[in-house]
């Protein structure tokens, strides 16, 4: 277990190193931040001065080494746009994204798994076909379109929910449901197919031979086996939620990390972009690790040595 953990840690560090390098370069390729900070009429002297102030006059590789050195010491720099430490700026946005992401994930997992089981147990019925059609629709519609339609119907026409912003639970409903559509459909489909496969397995036949009650067969044996691929997919979907959050937060003006990242890219706020992406990378790596641990809990065949 310890060696497994160390192995994963080493891989994680390599990945994180790669991510910092890529983002560092990509952010600089997106354009020069200095021009967003000085007046259009500013002379060369003023531009050079600003560049010196931001330490952007040095060669890029030296900037990178300096950045990595600071990050290693826990210094993530200051936001150019907000003139405050990056950690502060990200910290206040991240809890909004966690709130949104967890709400969406909870909806996606609970609805996805229950609909998947229902569809599998009523294979070929109207319920099964309706659930599958719904899943295809949910997976084919882009988040921004679902979001805009939701705003149009529930905020503008029906006036049930606020159009955008955050603060009350009503503000959370539409963005969370919009964000949940895709992972819910994906989880539902894999639960259904995995459940069908398990219910056809020989060991399920043997459970029937033993005379066990159907509910025991389905809930104790088949479901636990069927959940193995569902857990894998759910982990991936939780990671994908962050990508979806960038769009959903923009559509609903939800003041989260995704929204902050878009703003920062537009204003070329390098320190925020770098740290934001780093944060997301660390989150995804941790998530993958946790998913592997969950496997170990569900499946006795998996032992990390």
């Amino acid at each position: 277990m310890v060696s497994f953990f160390l192995h994963r840690l080493r891989l994680a560090l390599i990945t994180i190193f790669g991510v910092t390098l890529l983002v560092f370069i990509a952010a600089r390729l997106s354009g020069d931040v200095v021009y967003t900070l000085v007046d259009a009429s500013a002379g060369q002297e003023e531009i050079d001065k600003m560049r010196r102030q931001l330490d952007l006059d040095k060669p890029v590789w030296l900037q990178y080494i300096s950045y990595v050195g600071h990050v290693a010491r826990g210094d993530f720099g200051r936001s150019i746009r907000y003139q405050r430490p990056v950690v502060e700026v990200i910290a206040e946005r991240i809890q909004k994204t966690v709130q949104l992401g967890l709400a969406a994930f909870a909806v996606a997992v609970s609805l996805g798994i229950s609909l998947g089981i229902l569809a599998a147990r009523t294979r070929g019925s109207l319920i099964d076909r309706a659930a599958r059609t719904l899943a295809v629709l949910a997976q084919s519609m882009p988040h921004f379109w679902i979001g805009i339609m939701a705003i149009l119907i529930f905020a503008v026409i029906l006036r049930w929910l606020p159009t955008s912003g955050s603060g009350t639970w009503q503000h959370l409903v539409m963005p969370a449901l919009t964000l949940a559509t895709f992972p819910m459909a994906a989880i539902m489909r894999i639960t259904r197919s995995s459940m069908l496969e398990t219910l056809d397995a020989e060991y399920v036949k043997f459970l029937r031979v033993k005379g066990l009650a159907e509910r025991l067969i389905v809930w104790k044996h088949a479901l636990r086996n069927a959940l193995i691929p569902v857990v894998a997919l759910s982990g991936i979907q939780l990671g994908n939620l962050l990508g979806g959050a960038v769009i959903v937060e923009t559509v609903f003006s939800w003041p989260g990390l995704g929204n902050l990242m878009v703003e920062s890219i537009v204003s070329r706020d390098y320190p925020v972009i770098q740290s934001g992406v780093l944060m997301i990378a660390v989150f995804l790596i941790t998530l993958n690790f946790l998913v592997d641990l969950v496997f170990g809990v569900i499946d006795p065949r998996i032992r990390y040595n």
Binding site: E202, Y203, K205, F206, V209, K210, G211, L212, D299, P300
Partner: protein
Amino acid sequence: MGGTSTKDGVLLEVRDLEMSIFADGGNRIVRAVNGLSFTLRRGRTMGIIGESGSGKSMTSLSILRLLPRGARILGGQVLFDGRDLVSLAERDLRRMRGRHIAMILQDPMVSLDPLYRVGDQVAEPLRTHQGMGGDALRARVIELLGAVGIPAPESRFNQYPHQMSGGMLQRIVGAAAISCGPELLIADEPTTALDPTVQAQYLDLLEELQQRTGLALIVITHDLGVAARLCDDVIVMYAGRAAEKAPVRTLFERPAHPYTQALLSTLPGRRAPDDIKVDAHKRLPTIEGQPPDLAALPPGCPFAPRCPRADAKCRTEMPPEVSLATDHSAACWYPTT
């Protein structure tokens, strides 16, 4: 159960059993079992032999009414201790499964849930049917594991299926099957998935269990050696029908049905009667031709297309079961007598 039958009485009587599988939304009807009848007495062993697709496994699944998707029992009766399982309510039937009638599936490697300890899986029928629990249950399971020849049963209890060999798993499956002391045990190809050295040990175990508990056995196999070794009586199945029924010695010594004769002559070292066509030039002899498509059975004897004795009558009229001696019958117009 009833208790009215004597020890040598009839335990299972299958009468005119018909089972079909409706595939492609009912467009293709596979007639898996076609009017099968046989009787099994308490404590005896019946072998059902035949090629793959002859309806052996479907017969055993029909007895327990654990049918594959799309399959339906269309007719007949399965009388177990006098009760017809075909018309029994699902709830009552479930109480029979694992308690009075047990079954061992073909492949022990996939017969157990990989996520639960083997001890718990052996315990399940006892928990369900006899309401056992706690230390008594654990002790009983360990006793059962010992009874099927598992060394160090206390420590094996806590192991998972993937930690055991195929032979060990087959014993675990056996322990789960006999846990509630069933009167009938159906073993579907019990040794096919096992190594040859383990096969013999497992057959020993089945015999020993039968002697100790007096249960009746149905052994489904395509292995004539297994049948010869274990069975009192044998049914040779072909295309979902009984081609021949006979006590095991009679079957091997005086087979009456051309199919049985052909089947026996495929055994290394045996010769076919002169008129039975077997491709003996191959290193292992085979019966020429293919078994019929169960979704498009010919009107007459299903073996007629491969049978050297077949004439016009065989191809148009289904042969009835002809009694040749006590307990010996063949479904053939021209049986060897």
